[in-house]
Structures are given as structure tokens and as C-alpha cells.
Symmetry: C2
Subunit: 207 residues, 2 copies
């Protein structure tokens, strides 16, 4: 096994990964979510259905990975401030959600989450875990800079950042431009600073 | 026309409204979103399809009204603080989203928003307008109490509150209990206070 990996297993693996995701994206654009099959994706990617299922346990997982992110998100470069980092993150999330592929996939994946607890568990395990780890990095940087006295609840920040953008883009279906991103991040960053900083809370009115 | 209204038009109207919504809720529970038709809803409610379409322009609108809210939401009673009011609002929204009917309807309505700009426009006009007006009332109370120096951006507060709850309940599909509601409202209320209060911002670290 070690020998196979040393012999170039990882590049080959990542080539298959990339081919599968590219094939899924092409099919999504050509035939829409309902029309995509694992068979057609395997054929287009020049691999086997088994190879796809080793990577993605369901069509929903494959479609999410192809349209939104692969579950290995990279934190934004350090901008020097919590507010700057959250703004960079908000832009990345908004852009990812606004792509035609993500708009096609989001309502369908929500339907599959509703239908299958196993799919829901797996998507949470892969994608939500990765998103929250990215947020953790950004919050830890702010603690390191002394902007935050301690790390606020990661899930709350994830729900606010991801949720406000998901809601704006897919539910309210309105323009989420730079102005809206700045307003969101202004409230969120001020809120986490005040929430974890007794110094600031002491100055807060009676709320 | 005036005479008809004076002669009891409004009670009759609201009886039809209630019958249509009750019929839609029953059918939703019995046959699921895909199985509900305007014809079956009219028959069950003892009214005509035309009467339903005078109230709800699409099946998506009827289903949303039956499962979530009617587009005439009532602000929570004044709890005496912004944080208390936002918490009451968050509980109401979380409860409305967590019902079996809302869980059935949400992914489907998202699909219809994606399919039809006309449906999306109408849902925004009816439901989002009403939700934002409720938030406006809560924020104006806080301004009146002196908790906020001015009203923060309503759409931002709506996106954060509605979005974080929608995301937690339908997307991440995790338990959104009292602890999570308190954490959300702590960050949101501290955030809007800091955002619209130069006095507090002056004390804020360099963000």
C-alpha cells in the first residue's frame, strides 16, 4: 500500500477527483440536477461508478462538492483584522453561493437533506465540519491579535455568516452586494467582540 | 361594495381564508407538497379555485402561508429590552420553521423560487415585507427606549435572524435549542448596539 502511494498514488487520486468534479459540473450545466446520474458522471470522467462512490457517498454529496466546495476549504489570507478576515470569508461564501451551479444545487440538496437523515449526517460531517474549521482559524487569529479575549461560539458565527448569506441569496433571493456584506460583517464582528469582551459589555446599555 | 363589507364581508372573507389554510395544512400532512393541488384544496375548503387564487397567486404562496405564516405577522409583546424582544422573535421563528409542515414546505418553496422569478418576487413582496416590518417594530422600540441611538439596517437584522435560524434548522439540520437561540441573540443584539452607537464603538478595539 505504502509502495503504491509512493509510486504516485496521490497525484492519480487527485486527478480522478478533479475529473469527477469537472464531469459533474459539466453535466449539471447541461442537464440540471435531476438529470445528472452517477453513471453518466463516471462515463464522462473516464472512471468507474465505484470510484465515484468511494469519494462521494451520494449524488447530493457529489453535487454539493462540484457546485459549492469540496469539504477542504482554505481560510482566507490573514488581512490583519477580524473584520477584514470575516469580510473576505463573506465574499468567498457569497461568490460560491451565487454561481449558477450552486443556485441549481442548493434547493435540491435541501430536499435530499429533508428526505434522508443519512445524507444529512454525511453532509454535516464533511462540509459543515470543514466550514466551521475555517471559521475557527479566523476566530483564533483574532484571539491571537488580542481583538477577542476568547473564542466565541463557532457554530453561532457559522450560522450567522453562512445563514445570512444563504438566506439573502437563496431564500429572499435579493442582491447581496458589497454594501450588504459590509453591513453583515459590521454587525457580526462588533457582536462577537462585545459578546466575548467583558470590558466592552460593561459599557453596554442595559440589554 | 361598502355595503357588502359592512354587511359582514370581512368575517366571511376571514372564514374562507381560515378554511383554505386549514385545508392546505391537512392535505400537506396527508399527501406531501408534491401531492397537494389547488383543486383538492378548494374542494376540501368548500370554496372555488378562483377564490383561492384571489388570495394566493401560486401553490408555493399558499403552501408557505399554510405552513409558516400568513404574511401578517404580529411583533412579539414588548419584553422591555431589545435582547428580550429579539429572543422572543427568534423563538417564534425557530418554532415556525421546526413544524413538520414547514420542514416539508421549505425545500420545495426554495425550488419554486429558483424556477420562477415571478413567484420569488411575490413571496418577497408578501412574506419578506411582513417579516421586515415586524423587525422594524422591534428595532424602533429599542430606539424609543434609548438602547439604540438609531435604527440599524432592517434587512441586515432580518438576514441574520431569519438566516441563522433557517440555516440551523434546514441546512445544517441541527438542534437549535434555547442555548443556540441565546447565543445568536447575544451576538446580534450586541452587534447592532455597537454598530449604531458611536459611544460604544469608541471603546472597541481596532476592528
Amino acid at each position: 500500500m505504502t509502495r503504491v502511494r509512493q509510486g504516485g498514488g496521490r497525484p492519480r487520486e487527485s486527478r480522478i477527483d478533479a475529473a469527477v468534479l469537472a464531469a459533474a459540473r459539466e453535466l449539471l450545466a447541461e442537464v440540471g440536477y435531476a438529470g445528472v446520474t452517477m453513471d453518466a458522471t463516471a462515463a464522462r470522467a473516464g472512471t468507474s461508478k465505484a470510484a465515484i462512490y468511494r469519494r462521494f457517498r451520494s449524488k447530493a454529496e457529489l453535487m454539493f462538492a462540484a457546485a459549492v466546495h469540496r469539504g477542504e476549504v482554505t481560510p482566507p489570507p490573514d488581512t490583519g483584522s477580524l473584520r477584514g478576515d470575516l469580510l473576505a470569508l463573506a465574499r468567498t461564501i457569497r461568490d460560491a453561493m451565487s454561481s449558477p451551479a450552486a443556485r441549481e444545487v442548493a434547493p435540491q440538496v435541501l430536499t435530499e437533506i429533508r428526505r434522508s437523515p443519512a445524507v444529512s449526517d454525511r453532509l454535516r460531517e464533511v462540509f459543515v465540519t470543514s466550514e466551521r474549521s475555517e471559521i475557527e482559524t479566523v476566530l483564533d487569529r483574532a484571539v491571537g491579535r488580542g481583538e477577542l479575549m476568547r473564542r466565541p461560539d463557532i457554530a453561532t458565527v457559522h450560522r450567522i455568516l453562512g445563514g445570512a448569506l444563504f438566506f439573502g441569496v437563496f431564500v429572499v433571493d435579493e442582491d447581496v452586494g458589497e454594501r450588504e456584506l459590509h453591513q453583515l460583517v459590521a454587525v457580526l464582528s462588533a457582536g462577537v467582540v462585545a459578546e466575548v469582551s467583558p470590558h466592552l459589555r460593561a459599557h453596554s446599555p442595559d440589554i
